[in-house]
């Protein structure tokens, strides 16, 4: 009997939600376990870095790597898995484009440390003690790694073959990706393993989306009763659907809330936020600058709205001071 194909799962800077998404394969996970030999999965199984290192290069069929890259250790793991694996799948929004942790790219490390250890409410820290890379406690020396400031996407560190989008990817897409790998029917390199259509195309509210949205104001979701049937943009609520790839079957609009863009853009779009701005803002009714500004007041945090999961990959990069 030939050996089963070897597969690795690994996580970098992530919340564990991508791991839970794999666990959410539920009964299907038994099928996966039957079909492949999992050689690395830190959350659920014993593992050894040395074991993976000892394997011949390209001997593992595929690695699914989730999480952004924030530390040198994560970078080393990514590089090592790249050497050992034939295919690397960037798994989830953080690996693909930085995800929520990349919102920290808007702030300096010093700002974070100062707030958390000096200015936060409820602190009892008169000596302004901070965690130190090296400290002494009763003659015992203890060390901590330094905090890194920048959050990067996986493909900014290693070459990536495929992308599974989402925060997190849905079990359905994960299963389809695993099956594609096992059958050897692989799409061209660089493919995002999810339908290349805008989210609006699979949204149940689609038919109520007018050609011209004729926007006169943006409403924040806590301010209005949200109609569960009608296009959210048509209700004046910012919905990232037009600039976001489908594949989740419009889960958040199904929960009666707007899409926040976690699947990233379609293949035809380079910058998700720029796409949204160009396609939706052209529907703003007022034409005078002052009046336009008044409409845009309804979007008080443009970066967090348009690049919530994509700050590592957006053209804006990071704030320097």
């Amino acid at each position: 009997m030939p050996d089963k194909p070897k597969v690795a799962f690994y996580w970098c800077a992530s919340c564990g939600g991508c791991e839970e998404a794999v666990v959410d394969l539920a009964e299907d996970i038994l099928k996966v376990v039957e079909a492949v030999d999992i050689v690395l999965w830190p959350v659920a199984m014993d593992f050894k870095k040395a074991d993976v290192e000892a394997r011949p290069d390209k001997s593992i069929v595929a690695a699914f790597i989730n999480g952004a890259i924030r530390t040198s250790e994560q970078e080393e793991w990514a590089r090592m898995l790249r050497r050992k694996c034939q295919v690397v799948v960037s798994f989830g929004a953080c690996a693909n484009s930085g995800g929520i942790p990349a919102l920290a790219n808007q702030f300096k490390t010093e700002t974070i440390l100062k707030y958390v250890y000096e200015d936060c409410p409820g602190l009892d820290n008169p000596g302004k003690v901070r965690p130190l890379v090296k400290s002494e406690d009763e003659g015992r020396t203890l060390t901590l790694p330094e905090m890194h400031g920048m959050v990067r996407a996986l493909d900014q560190v290693i070459d990536v073959d495929y992308y599974l989008p989402g925060c997190p990817p849905t079990p359905k897409l994960i299963m389809a990706a695993v099956q594609a790998l096992l059958s050897g029917k692989l799409p061209p390199k660089g493919t995002v393993l999810s339908p290349d259509i805008a989210l609006c195309e699979e949204c149940k509210r689609k038919d109520s989306k007018p050609v011209d949205l004729a926007l006169t104001e943006f409403k924040r979701p806590h301010q209005v009763q949200i109609d569960p049937e009608k296009c959210l943009l048509a209700q004046g609520i910012v919905c990232m659907g037009p600039a976001t790839r489908g594949g989740c079957e419009a889960l958040c609009p199904g929960g009666n809330m707007a899409c926040t863009g976690c699947f990233g853009p379609t293949s035809r779009v380079k910058d998700q936020g720029a796409k949204f701005v160009s396609s939706v803002f052209s529907n703003i009714v007022p034409k005078e600058e002052k009046e336009i500004d008044a409409v845009l007041d309804g979007i008080p945090d443009p970066i967090g709205t348009f690049y919530r999961y994509g700050l590592s990959k957006c053209l804006l990069r990071r704030k320097l001071n």
Binding site: C15, G17, A44, Y115, P131, R140, T141, R220
Partner: protein
């Protein structure tokens, strides 16, 4: 171990007191992302002091500044993908408070349904997959069996399938009402985004009923495998796993355990009520201490004071999570859970229980309450009400919200301008509340179990068990990610050379 890390370690070691030997339990492979345990040995080969260090910080409190407060339920859920619903709900309740709006009664029922469903499936995850293997398979079992595969080997494949299918069905409820199960979208100040359709009710009721059967079954499993084994009971009550600290948890108006709402109640190590307060007053009761050797902060009871890593009535250190919740309350809010609660305290010798490993049992007691609450809520015809939101009208300023996450009391505080844009955020997260007690547990277990230089796999696993019982989520605790902790245990001689490595 890679060369850089080796060098850092060697330098640190050379500078350490030369009369000491050091044992490091270090997730080498995850050096910067996870906890590590440093054990300092003296000349006699006994433990001088063990430190649990949390080596990363992410700064959610800072990078949320300037953002609209209504985004917080979805932003903060990304602190942890294992317990996103807890952060989502604490944030939503902080928004209620921020806007001075009472949650619509139907919305509240839907929130509670989702929350109890989450508590049930998350506890099940820990009992069967994360922490339970220590007991179900056994603390001395070979490490390759101390995992979910070993659990299935012990309880049978059918039971394994039942766990998988039950978790899936419960999580489908969260998916339905919350939009998404991993990172829900339901929470808005004054209510929820989506109602429950009457047509869904029969299906939901069936899941809740099966969930209750499953919780009862889990209690039976715990009885058969753990309680009937004297050695396990002895281990649970042994001194190495015991600390006399304060305990904190949410209670309802009758002082019964409540996961979703209530006052925070604290009991002293001798079981007396130390304080009882609404979360809005938490800053009068909780302070945070900082140590230079860890990124995690150490909360303590302000009125008792920080007295170092010590136990007893004069130390402000307190615990949260299942055992603490049961200690802090006068009982459970539902009948089956109450029965299990009474048995729990009877067997463990009365209140409060100070044995860290009792958390596993307390978790099963709580599964019963979560399932019973789901059944109650779904039998309430109001839950399918067409109205489920109250639109806030007041000007926001400051809002504080609390829930009992599976891993303990979770507090979110937001301060905003008049448009609801955040300028100050404070999060006191479940595992952070436990950080001082966990640090003591690791130290005590190491001192109690490692003697005369004898260190073996089983002993090191027992040191790990001391913190695994808390179901710690250091991802949450430092608002960093991820939440789980693969460990590598490295034993070294005086020169810093590796004697051997043990990994899990």
């Amino acid at each position: 171990m890679d060369k850089t890390a080796q060098k850092v370690w060697n330098q640190a070691h050379q500078q350490a007191n030369s009369g000491r030997r050091t044992v490091t339990i270090d997730p080498i492979t995850r050096l910067e992302g996870h906890g590590k345990i440093e054990i300092f040995m003296n000349d006699q080969g006994n433990v001088d002091r063990a430190y649990l260090q949390i080596p990363e910080l992410r700064g959610f409190e800072v990078f949320c500044q300037g953002r609209p407060s209504e985004d917080m339920p979805q932003l903060t859920s990304r602190i942890c993908g294992v317990c996103p619903t807890a952060h989502h709900m604490a944030a939503t309740k902080a928004l209620d408070d921020l806007y001075g709006v009472e949650c619509h009664p139907v919305g509240r029922k839907i929130r509670e349904l989702v929350y109890n469903a989450f508590m049930l499936e998350d506890h099940a995850l820990h009992v069967y997959i994360l922490g339970g293997p220590d007991f179900i398979v056994g603390p001395d079992a070979p490490k390759e069996l101390r995992n979910v595969v070993g659990v299935i080997g012990k309880v049978g494949l059918d039971v394994g399938k039942r766990v998988i299918s039950m978790r899936r069905r419960i999580r489908e409820i969260i998916n339905y009402a919350g939009g998404k199960v991993i990172h829900p979208v339901m929470g808005l100040p004054g209510g929820v985004a989506k109602g429950i359709a009457a047509s869904e009710l029969p299906k939901l009721k069936e899941v809740a009923k099966d969930g209750l059967d499953f919780a009862k079954f889990t209690l039976q499993v715990f009885h058969d495998i753990v309680l009937k084994n004297d050695a396990y009971v002895k281990l649970i009550t042994s001194d190495a796993f015991t600390h006399k600290t304060h305990y904190m948890g949410l209670v309802d108006k009758n002082n019964k355990v409540n996961f979703y709402d209530g006052d925070i109640r604290v009991v002293s190590p001798d079981g007396r009520e130390q304080s009882r307060f609404p979360v809005q007053k938490y800053l009068e009761h909780i302070s945070e201490h900082v140590e230079p050797w860890s990124y995690i902060k150490f909360p303590f009871l302000k009125k008792v004071g920080w007295n170092g890593f010590t136990e007893g009535n004069s130390s402000g250190i307190y615990a949260v999570a299942p055992m603490a919740r049961l200690n802090a309350a006068d009982g459970m809010a539902t009948p089956e859970a109450q029965k299990a609660y009474e048995e729990y305290f009877k067997v463990l010798g009365g209140k409060p229980v100070h044995h860290t490993l009792a958390n596993h049992w307390a978790r099963v007691v709580e599964m019963l309450q979560a399932a019973e609450r789901m059944v109650e809520l779904l039998n309430d015809p109001e839950i399918t009400g067409k109205e489920f939101r109250t639109i806030p009208t007041k000007t926001p300023k400051i809002g504080i919200g609390v829930v009992e996450a599976p891993r303990g009391t979770l507090i979110h505080q937001y301060e905003t301008d008049e448009r609801g844009l955040l300028h100050r955020v404070n999060l006191i997260v479940s595992t952070t509340n436990n950080s001082a007690r966990i640090a003591m547990s690791v130290d005590k277990a190491a001192k109690g179990l490692i003697k005369d230089g004898k260190v073996n796999d089983g002993l090191l696993n027992m040191v790990e068990m001391a913190f695994r019982a808390y179901d710690p989520c250091f991802g949450c605790a430092t608002h960093t990610l991820p939440g789980e902790m693969p460990l590598v245990v490295t034993l070294r001689d005086l020169k810093g050379d590796i004697i051997r490595e043990i990994r899990r």
